[in-house]
Symmetry: C2
Subunit: 216 residues, 2 copies
Amino acid sequence: MNTLAEENYLKAIYHLTENDGNASTNQIASSLNTKASSVTDMLKKLADKALINYTPYQGVNLTPSGEKIALGIIRKHRLWEYFLVEKLNFKWDQVHDLAEEMEHISSEELIDRLDQFMGYPTHDPHGDPIPDCNGRFNTHELKPISAVTINQCGVISGVRNHSSSFLQYLDKQQLTIGCKIMITDIIEYDHSVVVQTGNKEVQISREVANNLLIAL
Amino acid sequence: MNTLAEENYLKAIYHLTENDGNASTNQIASSLNTKASSVTDMLKKLADKALINYTPYQGVNLTPSGEKIALGIIRKHRLWEYFLVEKLNFKWDQVHDLAEEMEHISSEELIDRLDQFMGYPTHDPHGDPIPDCNGRFNTHELKPISAVTINQCGVISGVRNHSSSFLQYLDKQQLTIGCKIMITDIIEYDHSVVVQTGNKEVQISREVANNLLIAL
DNA sequence: TAAAAAATTTAGACTAATCTAAAAAAATAA
DNA sequence: TTATTTTTTTAGATTAGTCTAAATTTTTTA
Ligand SMILES: [Mn+2]
Ligand SMILES: [Mn+2]
Ligand SMILES: [Mn+2]
Ligand SMILES: [Mn+2]
């Protein structure tokens, strides 16, 4: 159906256009660790297949059929991550690269049965929503901790950075998905945030607060 | 490490040389649905990597490191088949093509954890032995039903043909892996075999008897 | 608004894997 | 043991995906 490279491009374009409108050639190149000239070639191919809207020099976005394919890949990625953590006992910082490979297993029936086997989970180990077999998912409003005021409570529900080192740091601070927390202080000098989690208090940098999302 | 094509060639060579000594260029081409000239190119590449012993015009066999890789692929193939049948409720005739894709997921740790998750199964849904993480497996002696004499008992333990149509036929006749059977008659005229299975008797052709293996 | 800088595309080349057609070697038959 | 057939290899081409370097377009700056 589509090659591995095509699928990776569609997924990258999906993520780059999730918020704003168009993805640029350079943005795509950097997110796929490739060169702009390679991207241009692929954009032509995807445009020929009517999976993206492409005007030279103007960047691209997905057509409905391109988005459908991208959501299918993201669904597979997140379901496999859930499987790896919940069934095979991997840690949340170990599964992303494995899922990058597994998301290209083509069978729809396989992924739908895997979904059923795991009880139709709605979120992956990093708090990201898992699209259902029709590509639908509920997009709850999450805020970075850095945007929350003192004395507000919330539940840790997502991360903006998926690197191993960040996830391992959060593990160590016991700041993991599902934890109830309260913001007890914000240091004016450097915008660090003091957070109450369970019985203890931890202080996190502005950088960390920017990348840790809570549901209020 | 190795490309998908290289892995498929190594696996094909492994299976072709399981019994006899060398695999010929044409045998490999036909088992991979490709052309002899493509095979020759790949044989040179695998020989350069010291994964096969190749003398032009003389066919090939695996070196120890080539065999190790082949056994790793076969281990993954059979473990995924077991997973698909035992955990995701696929039928034994539906899993081979899926496993052909899944066997190329590269992580060793993933497959070892999957093995553990399933309780270290020793045989796949078709009765084929699953190599352990060191590539070792016990090779029990199986006989085709066509080689058994009247009144002998045994347990159905393997198949020589893995096609969907054959496996579906066996399902319908309730001749599946693990069934205890007895050979009650052999028709002299066409070598059909009459088999007692559970409470009923079924008659199978010589062709079927050739491809259905039992442990005595 | 013209010059400089940045972004993007084009041109031309490379690798892995495949193919067809032709040449060469090995096996078989007369 | 020579001729024919079969098998295998070589030669040359193709496609997907990538790259570097050069050309072109767009954006920014002065
Ligand atoms: Mn991920
Ligand atoms: Mn994730
Ligand atoms: Mn199989
Ligand atoms: Mn099998």
